[in-house]
Symmetry: C2
Subunit: 192 residues, 2 copies
Amino acid sequence: MAVVRRTREDWTAAALAALAEGGLAAVAVEPLAARAGATKGSVYWHFPTRDALVEATLLRWEHEHTEAVIAHAEQGATPVERLHRLISAVVRPERGVDVELALQSSLGDPLVAAAVARVGSRRMDYVVTLFTQLGFTRAQARRRAATAYSIYLGQAQLQRANPAVVPRTPAAKRAYVADVMLILLAQPDGDG
Amino acid sequence: MAVVRRTREDWTAAALAALAEGGLAAVAVEPLAARAGATKGSVYWHFPTRDALVEATLLRWEHEHTEAVIAHAEQGATPVERLHRLISAVVRPERGVDVELALQSSLGDPLVAAAVARVGSRRMDYVVTLFTQLGFTRAQARRRAATAYSIYLGQAQLQRANPAVVPRTPAAKRAYVADVMLILLAQPDGDG
DNA sequence: CGCCTTCCATACGGGACCGTATGGTTTGAC
DNA sequence: GTCAAACCATACGGTCCCGTATGGAAGGCG
């Protein structure tokens, strides 16, 4: 008889999956256990409370995916190339975007709000340095970074809420990314 | 004795308030009634079910606020001015943005998803016409509209999740809006 | 004033989930 | 093989919410 044993990581993995599918509310001890073919007893042995499970799950996501976007961008040689990779990552979403959106959808929870805030400012810092590398002044870089990150977030939402208005064919996506790049690199007004 | 009577509209109003504060989950019959100094009996007289209340609330929001942004923008004389009013509306948020975000946060619910989709495409249509009025080709207008709306959505999210990275002082806001305008009106590449 | 309709409070049953208690089974050390 | 620790199932009490049932008060109308 295959008597299965679960680790802490098994449960955070299951929680991540549930989070991606059904949002924070889906990270519920009993349904989670049932889906894993186990019972609450297991979960409550590994975690003192549901919040502890949520927190561990968020921490795991933070460690695994915070730097993911940045790391992917950093593979670009020039700043322009890095920005391009950054923008493309949203328009051509990979894995993990579901969790991203689910979290943005549960900012009511203080644990989630804290995690999202940490990740957000970390990313913003990166994009700001990117734009300073591109020759923008500090203030101007901050503005462009805010816009770039807004486009990132907004685009992610649009794909979920209004997939019809988002570019779908590869050609359309390429054209769209190109236009966003052109936009973000536009010469600013000369008043800092 | 001020024996209060509630109308259907009283309840959708209360639901809207709760929606803005606590998201869709806060639109719960019993808490809503308690907060209004009434009981479930009243709610369930006006609405057959909770979903009916939610649907009526969404419909009300849709009617009251879908066109609100557009109407506000339409007070601008030129297309550029209209776009400017549109962008400013996010950076300098008025009332109703809370509900907007709460809904975007509850796309899991099919009722919400439908309402948000309707409003979204309605707004996109408007922004597309705005960009065509500005002399962009149809394809290019669609791209810029998608970007503009993404900035709108993303900026709204940023204000909630990372208020630190968003321009705060009036001067900073003005500079930011100016830069976004400059960006959105940038001369596109000649192939679209 | 009587009466009917509109509106609402109270009371109840049910479901989903959290957290605790407790005892049983498996595992590894010796 | 013994034993303690690790792991988990079962069962329970509690909370919050949904929805129903039912009786009663409020307001118009004859």
